[in-house]
């Protein structure tokens, strides 16, 4: 059963990802990305990471896709149908496949002994986040604050700057 669900989710994930890099329409690419991200949330569920699945659906499936759609909408112009791939795409495909040829055998030949995957409880994650990982957590909030301020400063229009 776990195998069936995993294979289904893997096909959806990789299919969506291929849709992102192959599609000629930017909106279709964004929708393929949504399929891929939701399937990744399913993969987290197969791994018993319920909290991460929830976060994935909320943040990636909700917020990030919306922001990307805004980017598509606000930069719409006549050359979207023409913008597809670089001339260097065969080279890029070759480099990507070569990279896969390096990392996939390294995963296959250096296998980790398998233990039963376990359920990470919400309370355990919360305790760990606010004790062991408290300082990175604060730094992450600072990163978000700086990113928001930076985004506002970069994106505001020229008239407001004077």
């Amino acid at each position: 059963m776990a195998w069936f669900v995993f294979i289904l989710l893997a096909v959806l994930t990789i299919g969506g990802a291929l849709g992102v890099v192959v599609s000629r329409n930017v909106v279709h690419a964004a929708l393929s990305l949504l399929v891929s991200l939701i399937a990744v949330a399913g993969v987290y569920l197969v791994l018993f990471a319920e909290f991460l699945a929830l976060v994935q659906v909320l943040i990636y499936g909700g917020a990030i896709i919306i922001v990307l759609m805004f980017a598509v909408m606000l930069t719409r112009n006549a050359d979207y149908p023409r913008i597809t791939d670089n001339k260097q795409w065969p080279l890029a495909a070759l480099a990507a496949i070569a990279f896969l040829g390096v990392i996939a055998p390294s995963f296959i030949y250096d296998r980790v002994e398998n233990t039963q995957s376990q359920n990470a409880s919400f309370t355990g994650i919360g305790e760990s986040l606010f004790t062991t990982w408290a300082v990175p957590f604060e730094i992450a909030s600072l990163v978000l604050l700086i990113a928001v301020i930076g985004a506002i400063i970069i994106a505001r229009s020229d008239e407001e700057e004077s």
Partner: protein
């Protein structure tokens, strides 16, 4: 029970697809989408390792999941900033084609 190696291979394939997208696409928005794919591949790898190696002494509990939470945080910040930069780029050059953004190219 699905072995850890299958999750690792899934994440490797997803990462490579994202890498191809970053190198081959011309629209800045599509490049950001490909970067999201790569971040997701890393997250799958971390969470799979965390849930399969718990209790083997290689990981303390939940570390992989917590690092994945931080990666998601950074990804959210990155997409917000990327939207701002793409908007500024579009306003200045009225294109999102990265081949035409060559002001600083030697």
């Amino acid at each position: 029970m699905v072995d850890l190696v299958w999750f690792q291979l899934l994440s490797a394939v997803l990462f490579v697809i994202g890498l191809y997208g970053v190198m081959a696409r011309r629209s800045a928005v599509l490049i950001v989408m490909s970067i999201e794919l790569m971040l997701n591949a890393v997250n799958i790898n971390l969470i799979a390792a965390a849930s399969h190696m718990e209790g083997t002494g290689k990981f303390t509990d939940f570390d992989g999941q917590l690092i994945a939470i931080f990666i998601i945080t950074v990804a959210a910040a990155e997409v917000g900033l990327a939207l701002a930069i793409i908007l500024r780029m579009f306003r200045n050059k009225s294109t999102v084609n990265v081949n035409e953004i060559n002001l600083m190219k030697w």
